[in-house]
């Protein structure tokens, strides 16, 4: 049984009383992330150092509380939604950019640093951190690491994993280890590689060594309008097939363009059925050549309007349109459910048609803004939760979207992970043996199942080798009946 009071006393002694939240209202704020799932926790700790994180993990182990690591809570899959008598370890106060070393193309940062703060800090020195999730103003580097986050610029530069050289992590037993290296290779298995994207189930990341890149000497941003979604999606494939890998390749449909225009006044063509935002970078000559080829591909597919940003202000305007999309959709309806799944790029047209058909069948409004170059879809259902039956329809439609993507040869998530919401879809894409092997990986880090339990893997997935140890642990695992409402379980 968890001894919450004793845990609270010990944490208050180690972290100070203002770093521990135990009152019901305070805890409620940490009961969910950006997903639909509302959970609950016993305590919230706000450590400022790795030593304090160690104290948190040790106290949780001593008093039988599972640990739920949390960044900024912008994840859509419920990875940071706590369940049962857990201790939420929020890294929001660990916000130091420890050092920037251009000569080694790296920077050490604490996990609570917001992605955009790091980007801005580097930019003044001529450097950049490539992953730029749309939530970058809020989402933290620690969260980015745990969800292997993406963003528009991951098409050419790769996802977060390609930009993390090393992590310091507090292990389930409270020890602090470094995985990866400042150099290009590290000894032993690539544990850094499995920690990135592990959704807080292997430990609590307390410091991150990120790869930084020089700001490219030239960049050009273009916006193309199309009369049909099909032509827009086909242009995406044509650009790639033509040998250009743009720095970013983003698609938005009419519904979202209209909402964005009302909100950001970025000069997007509101009559277009879909728009494509393309950015290329490199040297001046490289950018000129890529621009020519991209324009050609768009022309071949009957582009109806072309805008090329003439200067940095116009470029910022075009990006503002894209990045404010999720703010703008509040005009459509009070609530939204945003999806995240990936399909092969060449299946975009067919999957988009399927998404519209699903929305129509359930009488729902769907808009689309997504990383087309990566095949990473973000269908967004707008609705009013107070209308009886609506939420249920949204959840049914969501279920169908996931299955549609999987049937097209896709993956369950592109950048938010599995968390709670998609756990039980895992058998759609993996066999029992695959899941057992994944469970073994997890148990190798956390034999007693203390870290973010019941996330990522469905309940049945067990590592044979470690099943006995996990069952005998002191952690109070919640029953299926305890799972919060709104999970699709």
């Amino acid at each position: 049984m968890a001894d919450v009071d004793a845990a609270r006393r010990e944490l208050e002694a180690a972290l100070g009383p203002d770093a521990v939240i135990a009152d019901p209202l305070g805890r409620r704020l940490y009961a969910r992330d950006a997903s639909m799932v509302e959970g609950g926790c016993a305590l919230v700790a706000l450590p400022t150092t790795a030593e304090q994180v160690q104290a948190c993990v040790r106290a949780a182990a001593t008093y039988g509380l599972p640990v739920v690591p949390r960044g900024s809570g912008t994840g859509l899959a419920g990875g940071a939604t706590p369940i049962g008598d857990s201790l939420v370890v929020a890294t929001a106060r660990m916000t130091r950019i420890v050092e920037v070393r251009p000569e080694d193309r790296l920077a050490w940062v604490e996990p609570g640093v917001p992605n955009l703060d790091l980007a801005n800090h580097l930019r003044t020195r001529g450097w950049t951190f490539a992953p730029d999730p749309s939530s970058q103003q809020t989402s933290s580097i620690g969260g980015n690491v745990n969800t292997n986050a993406g963003g528009p610029h991951c098409l050419a530069y790769g996802v977060t994993s390609a930009h993390v050289l090393a992590v310091d992590m507090v292990m389930a037993d409270g020890s602090l280890e470094r995985f990866g290296a400042e150099g290009p290779e590290a000894p032993g298995y690539d544990l850094r590689g499995v920690i990135v994207g592990s959704e807080g189930t292997l430990g609590v990341v307390t410091r991150v060594c990120v790869r930084i890149l020089p700001v490219p000497p030239a960049v050009r941003t273009m916006l193309f309008g199309f009369d049909s979604v099909d032509a827009c999606a086909a242009t995406v494939s044509a650009i790639i097939a033509g040998g250009v890998v743009p720095a970013a390749l983003e698609m938005m449909d009419r519904g979202i363009v209209r909402a964005v225009e009302n909100f950001a006044h970025a000069g997007y063509p509101v009559d277009a059925a879909a728009v494509l935002l393309v950015e290329v970078d490199g040297t001046e000559a490289g950018v000129t050549e890529q621009t020519r080829r991209v324009e050609e591909a768009a022309a071949d597919h009957g582009v109806s309007s072309v805008r090329i940003a003439a200067d940095e202000t116009e470029r910022a305007g075009l990006w503002k349109g894209r990045k404010s999309a999720f703010g703008a959709i509040a005009q459509i309806a009070p609530h939204y459910h945003l999806h995240d799944c990936v399909v092969p790029r060449t299946k975009l047209v067919e999957v988009m048609r399927g998404v519209y058909a699903i929305a129509e069948h359930h009488g729902l409004i769907v808009t689309n803004v997504f990383h087309a170059g990566d095949g990473n879809l973000h269908p967004l259902f707008s609705f009013d939760r107070s209308v009886p039956g609506t939420l249920e329809r949204v959840l049914r439609a969501s279920d169908e979207v996931v299955r549609l993507c999987v049937d097209a040869g896709g993956a369950l998530s592109g950048e938010h992970g599995i968390g709670l919401e998609k756990r039980d879809f895992m058998p759609l894409v993996f066999t029992d043996e695959d899941l057992e092997a994944q469970a073994c990986l997890r148990s190798s880090f956390d034999p007693d199942g203390r870290m973010n339990p019941r996330k990522v893997l469905p309940d049945g997935a067990r590592c044979g080798e470690f099943a006995v140890a996990a069952a005998g642990s002191g952690v109070a695992a919640a029953d299926a009946a305890d799972l919060p409402e709104g999970s699709w379980i």
């Binding site: 070393r101 080694d104 193309r105 790296l106 991951c154 098409l155 790769g158 390609a162 292990m171 470094r178 995985f179 290296a181 400042e182 150099g183 290009p184 290779e185 590290a186 000894p187 032993g188 298995y189 690539d190 544990l191 590689g193 592990s198 890149l213 020089p214 000497p217 790639i240 097939a241 040998g243 250009v244 890998v245 490199g282 001046e284 000559a285 050549e289 990936v342 399909v343 092969p344 060449t346 990383h371 990566d374 990473n376 896709g410 993956a411 998530s413 592109g414 938010h416 992970g417 599995i418 895992m426 695959d434 899941l435 092997a437 994944q438 073994c440 990986l441 880090f445 080798e465 470690f466």
Partner: protein, 354 residues
Amino acid sequence: MDLIHPRTAADVADALREASTSGRRVLVVGGRRHIDKGNPSGVDAELWTTQLDGVVAYEPAEMLTVVQAGMRCDALGAMLAEHGQEWPADAPPEATVGGVIASGSSSARRMRVGPLRDTVVEMEFVTGDGRLVRSGARTVKNVTGYDLHRLAAGSLGTLGVITQVALKVRPLPERRLTLTAPGDLPLATAIASEVTLAAGVVATTDAVEVRLEGWAGEVDELAAAVTRLAPASTPEDLPSFPRAPWWTWPGDATIAEVAVAPSRLVGVVSATTTYAALAGVGLAWVVAANEDELGELRRRAERAGGIAPVVRGPGGLGSADVRGADVLRRLKRSFDPAHVLAPGRSLADLPQTR
């Protein structure tokens, strides 16, 4: 020495199940380029992947291909080149796809193309006890469960036998160019920090080679920038970069692969006589004439926070501090419980130290 020469992944699974039961110790072999890495010993059988050489899928517009792990790199390269694409391994022609991935090697053009492990998006492998396992997906972006393929990449065949991979490929550059100039590692470092879009800058004891690639006009611009720093440079169109990769070096002297933070590279290799050092990346291939030289090189690498495993000759992976040793042991126990894979390789031996 027995030979296991499977035709299918199911054959691999059968062979390893049998090996785990009988205790037959198996070394997975691809193109043998990294056969010395970790110095396997006490092997009862070799498992050759060369009959697992089929193409499962290739869709150029996806920039993805799915191939079996025994496919030779030259065959893969030829297939991709027909569609103007490449898999940036820069391995010798007889190397196999699975071998290159399992050995943890990367292209010398890494500054531009990234580490090779990042190109592996899906993998099927057979564990030491004969379970066929898949992770990842055939998409360029994916956060769905744990990336077991990350573990297998660079694991030297100690956790499983890679049977199939989905790889991210890239467009072949419109133009490539190598500039060679008299110079040393400090000059190479200056070029790498100034011409950040170069594909690679390698220094030997007396010369610097700069590899440029991209759009034709882009290469001209980059070449002009290099020439400003190294006026005596000669441009050539060379297929290979560097001109002489370490596996072509004559003799059988021991070669270690140093990996340190880029700015520490000069300090580690400057006292040695035969090396190729990748400026801006922090990798160097260094000849160690004897055990003392290897020991000294490793001490310098470790003081600089890096490692120096041997890739040709004796010497193993080195004594660098392996973090998370408990995790590594548990992984080995889960994936190769009978401890039959890649005997003698240091990673695999971890459980015995407990």
